[in-house]
């Protein structure tokens, strides 16, 4: 992972786009313009919605941003859903889609020339990295059903390699991330597993009246343990979950982010769990991890309560030289920002930094920490969307589709504003229309030096938002950040 940078990618968009009132628009400090159609993106996620309200159909899906064809710009990859694999029947009508960047913001659908990247499983997340060390990007796909490890040849073409790779997982997996856990120069793989759901005999949750059937709470299901796959150096993997010290904890995992949280030069791992304690795994330097959750205080919020952890970002929000953590959560919980105090001690500063109120009502999914206004500090973007499509029946102040948020970090060494003071800002088209947001990525798609946003929706269209912010100039590098919930990308420079 030396010399590597983390680019994060993932999105979840809303299940079903809804017409909604336009938000009031104060003078724009930030400007993100919806250029989806103009740039040639036409991906729409198929959630495979059913009357039985299977929980997996609320969760997808992720996306990735990487230079798949080695031409120097960022291409796009979207994970697809489709018909749910009930009774073992997989839908082969929907495939993941790969869009090649032709430069300057023109994308063409290159799925049919992408080989095995045109995957047809019911997808959740994606991780990108050169796991066989041949200089070309590979990808791991987490799915409801059999996961896939695909090897790339640098021309946006992939071959399926699960049998040779040793990686096999048929559970409901979600977040996945490549990182060099044992500092041996190759990329290992961590995959979060979510819930043990019964698609054959789904429980009826919610009221029995017509139209009131709802999705069951994660507490209704048993969690599944995450898995850690150690790279043997050639792109083959062994299950080293226990050996590496990742206890067999069924944490209902969603997001996972590697970051050097203790500043010792190796990558630690933070895992967001849905409605159970999040986990901070401290890298002991030899490929083994110890549980630093209790000491760090990052398992629960300041109230000592577990939250529904989903998306993750990491970055030095207060410019004190270490990496802080940001976690998106469910409604009636705020998203949570943990400030790194050093010595592996963190403090929940969500309220103190003004991040509580703007995030209390939405259901947060994908998030990105990036310098949206190029003022030298990290801002936060969050895509939101409820999982329950009829939530308004149960709480008349909540909606399925929700506004995304851009939270400006007004703290800066250049201004006399305390670092880490956030406020919600108008961001042009980003967040203007409520969506069922899921994955959020940031990357310079048009090579103009600032970071654009990509947002997926559950059952809806993916969007590209071009960064037209007035101060958009030289973007601060994304260091140690990995966005959200389902998938991430690590790319070697």
């Amino acid at each position: 992972m030396r010399g590597a940078r983390w680019i994060t990618l993932l999105c979840l968009s809303g299940c079903g786009e809804e017409e909604a009132p336009v938000m009031p628009t104060p003078p724009p400090t930030f400007a993100f313009a919806d250029v989806t159609e103009a740039w040639g993106l036409d991906f729409t996620h198929d959630a495979g919605l059913t009357p039985e309200k299977h929980l997996p159909e609320t969760m997808g899906a992720g996306a990735a941003l990487a230079d798949f064809d080695s031409d120097g710009d960022l291409d796009l990859y979207f994970v697809q859903g489709g018909e749910l694999p009930v009774s073992g029947v997989a839908d082969d009508g929907n495939m993941n889609r790969l869009y090649r960047n032709q430069g300057g913001g023109e994308f063409v659908d290159a799925t049919y020339g992408a080989g095995a990247a045109a995957h047809t499983g019911y997808g959740m997340g994606v991780a990108i990295g050169d796991c066989d060390g041949n200089g070309h990007l590979d990808m791991y796909l987490s799915c409801l059903g059999e996961d896939a490890l695909l090897f790339g040849n640098g021309t946006a073409w992939f071959r399926d390699g699960p049998a040779a790779s040793g990686v096999r997982d048929e559970r409901w997996t979600a977040g996945c991330v490549f990182f060099d856990a044992d500092s041996d120069g190759d990329l290992d793989l961590y995959v979060t597993a979510y819930l043990d759901v019964d698609l054959e005999s789904p429980t009826w949750c919610g009221d029995r009246k017509e139209g009131w059937r709802s999705y069951c709470h994660p507490d209704h299901y048993a969690g599944l343990p995450d898995r850690f796959w150690r790279n043997e150096g050639d792109g083959t993997f062994v299950d080293a979950t226990a050996e590496a010290g990742f206890d067999d904890i069924a944490g209902k995992g969603l997001g996972a982010i590697p970051a050097d949280l203790d500043g010792d030069g190796d990558l630690d791992l933070y895992v967001a769990n849905d409605s159970t304690e999040n986990r901070l795994w401290v890298n002991e330097g030899d490929g083994r991890f110890s549980d630093g959750t209790l000491l760090s205080g990052t398992g629960v919020n300041a109230r000592g309560l577990t939250e529904a952890g989903m998306g993750l970002a990491s970055g030095d929000f207060d410019l004190d030289g270490d990496l802080d953590l940001y976690v998106t959560n469910f409604d009636d919980e705020s998203n949570t920002l943990y400030r790194n105090e050093g010595g592996l001690i963190f403090t929940d500063v969500t309220a103190r930094w003004g991040l509580d109120a703007p995030t209390r009502m939405p259901v947060g999914f994908g998030t990105m920490a990036f310098d949206a206004d190029s003022d030298g500090d990290l801002d936060l973007a969050v895509t939101n969307g409820h999982i329950i499509d009829n939530i308004e029946l149960y709480h008349d102040g909540k909606t399925h589709a929700q506004h995304a948020l851009l939270l400006e970090n007004t703290g800066s060494v250049f201004r006399s504003v305390p670092a880490g003071d956030f406020r919600s800002v108008d961001a042009g088209d980003f967040g203007r229309t409520p969506r069922v947001g899921r994955c959020l990525l940031a990357g310079d798609l048009d090579s103009d030096g600032d970071l654009d946003l990509i947002e997926t929706a559950c059952g809806g269209a993916a969007k590209i938002y071009r960064n037209d912010s007035a101060r958009g100039g030289i973007a601060a590098p994304i260091v140690g950040t990995q966005p959200s919930y389902l998938g991430s990308m690590s790319a070697r420079e």
Partner: protein, 339 residues
């Protein structure tokens, strides 16, 4: 006589009143009916009831709308509704400063907005009393956030004495200990908090289920289970578990009651008067009718308590109900061997 016969017949065809609907769990219809009644007969007491019902079913926008009809008197209700809708700035202008619960909401709203809330601790203490666990928590939280870790330790310990199941107090105590240099003790407390947290989550889940369907017996039983698991952390949970099981039994009939009797017996065995008492509680349940599950479990408790004779009697009754049951036969053999 004819008139008497007409009364039940009429009750089948006449629309039910809001109260009846509410009592039967038809809450959405009850609110609809009460709204209709208010349209014909606007009375403050009816409107207050409507507001109350709206809050109960999380219809905060509806509560907000309903409170408009009360004029200025509706402001505190509107403040609460705005608070639950996450509209904290607006809520702050309307929340009642003379009501303790509303002051707690004010603190939470200020906190969510990233503003100072410390000045509201004393008003909260005056209105709710120093004995209130939430006041104790506010004081402890302020000390922790202010960096006075040693004082925070003391304050959280005090809060825990009042409320042993308060997650924030336990977590805050652990954090304060770690931050004040008592790392080992702090980690011990945090381990205890880690053990408690999933149990509190389960309790929350059970309470939400009950909130959605308050008349459903199994939801009460699930609440009993959640409280039962919390007894090691707080003895007061025993009575709550017992009350929940009784509430479940009062709403269930026939064989559906059997699992609840079994779970209640486990409460008694694990945390109450012990194995014999648990067995006798199942004996009492058997007065409702013979049941092999109740008999076998009672036998297990008697056996574990050392009374093989009573155990065998129940196992033989169970075998009479299920003559081919190998598990019962094996139990009988085991008890006989152990005599």
């Amino acid at each position: 006589m004819r008139a008497l016969l007409l009364i039940p017949l009429l009750s089948l065809v006449l629309p039910q009143g809001p109260r009846e609907l509410w009592r039967e769990g038809e809450r959405a219809r009850a609110i609809q009916a009460l709204n209709a009644k208010l349209a014909e007969d606007e009375r403050p007491e009816l409107r207050r009831r409507l507001i109350d019902w709206c809050f109960t079913v999380h219809k905060y926008s509806a509560a907000l709308e309903a409170a408009e009809g009360l004029g200025d008197e509706g402001d505190p209700h509107r403040g609460r509704a705005l608070y639950f809708l996450g509209r904290y700035e607006e809520a702050l202008a309307l929340l009642d400063e003379g009501d303790g619960e509303a002051v707690l909401m004010r603190v939470e709203a200020l906190r969510a907005l990233g503003r100072d809330w410390g000045e509201w601790i004393e008003p909260a203490a005056e209105l709710l009393g120093e004995g209130d666990r939430r006041v104790a928590l506010l004081r402890a939280r302020a000390l922790l956030e202010g960096g006075d870790h040693a004082a925070a330790v003391e304050a959280f310990e005090g809060a825990l004495k009042r409320a042993p199941l308060e997650a924030e107090a336990l977590f805050g105590l652990g954090r304060a200990l770690v931050l004040s240099g008592e790392r080992t003790r702090g980690l011990e407390v945090l381990e205890r908090h880690r053990a408690l947290t999933p149990l509190l989550d389960a309790l929350d889940f059970a309470e939400r289920g009950l909130d959605l369907a308050p008349l459903h017996g199994p939801n009460h039983a699930a609440l009993g289970d959640a409280w039962r698991e919390l007894v090691p952390f707080d003895g007061g949970s025993y009575a709550r578990a017992e009350a929940a099981y009784q509430a479940a039994l009062s709403r269930m009939k026939g064989k559906a009651r059997v699992p609840v009797h079994l779970r209640r017996a486990r409460l008694i065995a694990d945390h109450g008067d012990g194995l014999m008492a648990a067995a006798f509680s199942l004996d009492a349940a058997l007065k409702e009718g013979e049941d092999p599950q109740l008999l076998v479990r009672a036998a297990d408790y008697f056996s574990e308590a050392g009374d093989a004779g009573l155990a065998l009697l129940r196992l033989e009754r169970a075998l009479a109900l299920r003559p081919g049951d190998r598990a019962i036969r094996e139990r009988i053999e085991r008890v006989r061997r152990g005599r």
